[in-house]
């Protein structure tokens, strides 16, 4: 065995790499959320694979029915998120008149900083288990390509920028069955934010881009559904405020959001509501997990 091969074997962050064909075949198994392997149990963060913190019942109740579409914003209005204060809908979901799905959510994280967010969104890409601990009931796995992995492990790339241009291949259940979702992360500039306004105290950091979701049990009739995802964070006393927006049915085309639904078709309300509910649950757990795990492992990529 060559020295290079030994090195790969010794570093879990590299040895978990699958090629595309292997990864795609593995997603059906991952979707069953198998028990942790012995190697996974030995990882220093395995203890965080535990029952999640229960979601906020008030927020879940808000997600029981759609909000008023007239109060929602379109992706072309994303810069309204840089205004001081709050928008009309900070928690809710609906179908927009053009058929697209809209989701908003808002959380306050005590003891969390923008650096912690930047670290998490890079760190968790390296192994399935890192993604699974985020929300064990519905997060099944995550893979990145070999070239993206090099970028993630490159110490010369700032934590905040590691995800710019990266694609996360996640296997996740957004309350509508297990899907493979390819999330194309972008810089806030490429996503469309006005960078002259993207600054403290209105914006501290950003994680988002556009995604394509398709059932793990894809067949010839399956839909590959586009969506824009926006997580924007701003500093508040004692922590960070996280505001989420999703626009389902839109894709990024030529650097701009474009509605990509067939004429007369709407995103099914159950899909919009499902993602809204999933979002409430995963980020409640995240709010407790992140400060804890950052204290132990934060700031570095390898464990």
């Amino acid at each position: 065995m060559s020295e290079g091969a030994l090195k790969v074997k010794e570093i879990p962050e590299l040895s978990v790499q699958l090629n595309y064909k292997q990864w795609y075949a593995s997603t059906k198994v991952k979707a069953e959320r198998p028990p942790l392997t012995e190697q996974e149990k030995a990882r220093p963060f395995a203890k965080y694979y535990r029952d999640p913190v229960p979601a906020d019942p008030e927020k879940l109740a808000i997600m029981d029915r759609p909000c008023d579409p007239a109060k929602a914003i379109y992706p072309e209005q994303m810069n309204d998120l840089l205004n001081p204060g709050y928008l009309d809908v900070e928690v809710g979901w609906c179908n927009l008149p053009n058929g697209a799905g809209f989701i908003a959510n808002c959380y306050q994280y005590e003891g969390v900083t923008a650096d912690m967010i930047d670290w998490w969104f890079a760190w968790h890409t390296l192994e399935d288990l890192r993604y699974r601990i985020w929300y064990p009931p519905q997060h099944a796995g995550l893979m990145i390509s070999p070239d993206t992995r090099k970028r993630m492990l490159d110490p010369n790339i700032p934590m905040r920028e590691k995800n710019w241009g990266a694609i996360h291949h996640v296997t996740e259940n957004c309350d509508c069955g297990m899907e493979n979702i390819d999330i194309n992360f972008m810089s806030p500039k490429d996503f469309g934010f006005d960078m002259t306004r993207f600054k403290e105290p209105f914006a501290s950091t950003f994680a988002g881009g556009f995604g394509w979701a398709c059932s793990v049990d894809k067949n010839d009739q399956s839909i590959t559904a586009p969506a824009l995802m926006c997580h924007i964070f701003r500093t508040i006393p004692g922590g960070l405020e996280h505001r989420t927006r999703f626009w389902l049915g839109y894709r990024m085309s030529g650097g701009k959001p474009e509605l990509s639904l067939p004429p007369g078709v709407s995103v099914p309300a159950s899909s919009v509501q499902g993602l809204a509910r999933h979002n409430v649950k995963e980020f409640k757990n995240f709010s407790v997990l992140l400060p804890e795990i950052y204290k132990e492992l934060g700031g570095r990529m390898e464990c």
């Binding site: 090629n19 595309y20 064909k21 292997q22 390509s145 070999p146 070239d147 993206t148 694609i167 291949h169 390819d182 394509w212 398709c214 010839d220 009739q221 399956s222 839909i223 590959t224 586009p226 894709r251 085309s253 030529g254 701009k256 474009e258 509605l259 990509s260 639904l261 067939p262 004429p263």
Partner: protein
């Protein structure tokens, strides 16, 4: 951003190439002009020559003849669907069987990315001296992704290989007037409408088709020089045995004068 459909077809049994070209240009093309629907522009690329696979292959690994690639442009995805799936079936969707072996069609729904070239204007070209990024000879290269390589790495590695090939191919660097990477849109993962319109059965999936323009067919050697370096690129990204290139002549069917 405009989106386009690229459909590669071969002639139906019993037709000569001349029969096929006459039909697709003068009959099918006329139907498209008469029944334009939401088409913004429509170019037919008639195949002069081409090669499938590599010299290392013992035999062809797939259908290995193509007579034309049509490129139909739309302003957006809904317009594309309005055209491919109108409320009453279009004449164009019924007409393909008269010239094409429809079940072997290959379609790619693509978004264009312009790749800069060092010499878009010919150094000597009487009468066309003020024009750039044009050429009478168009090469369409269908590059099959290596199925072990992630799409994002495939695109990145192709670009690296392309830049290296341009660097190491002085003839191509001097003669390539335009290069466009036609990247398959993910909305095409479930191309039910296109399959219905073009009547394909289990078509191979291409994540990218690269269009390259040269002044005339005399510059085909410039592409070959470039292609040799591209295929020798050491970082894997393509399955060259299932890739092919076509030398074509572009025939505009619908192309409005740009509004300045």
């Amino acid at each position: 951003m405009p989106i386009k459909l690229m459909a590669a077809s071969r002639r139906r049994p019993g037709l000569t190439r001349a029969d096929y070209f006459r039909y697709i240009e003068h009959f099918h093309g006329t139907i498209a002009r008469n029944e334009r629907l939401k088409i913004s522009s429509y170019i037919q690329n008639h195949v002069i020559d081409g090669a499938f696979g590599t010299l290392a292959d013992a035999t062809h690994q797939q259908v290995c003849d193509r007579e034309a690639v049509v490129e139909i442009y739309f302003d957006n995805f809904p317009d594309m669907l309005r055209t491919l799936e109108p409320e009453t079936p279009s004449d164009a969707s019924q007409d393909g069987r008269f010239f094409a072996d429809e079940c072997t069609n290959i379609i790619v729904m693509a978004e264009e990315e312009e790749i800069p070239v060092p010499n878009p204007k010919p150094a000597f070209n009487p009468g066309l001296g003020i024009m750039g990024s044009v050429g009478a000879f168009k090469v369409l290269q269908y590059i099959m992704r290596d199925d072990e390589v992630y799409r994002e790495d495939y695109y990145r590695r192709w670009r690296e290989a392309h830049e290296a090939a341009m660097e190491k191919s002085p003839y191509a660097r001097e003669q390539m007037r335009r290069c466009v990477a036609n990247k398959r849109c993910r909305i095409n993962d479930n191309d039910a409408a296109a399959r219905k319109h073009f009547k394909m059965v289990d078509p191979p999936v291409y994540d990218m088709v690269v269009s390259m323009w040269f002044d005339t067919a005399e510059q085909a050697g410039a592409f070959r020089q470039y292609n040799d370096v591209l295929q020798a690129w050491p970082t894997p990204f393509a399955n060259w045995s299932k890739s092919f290139f076509l030398y074509t002549r572009a025939v505009p069917i619908i192309r409005d004068t740009p509004k300045s």
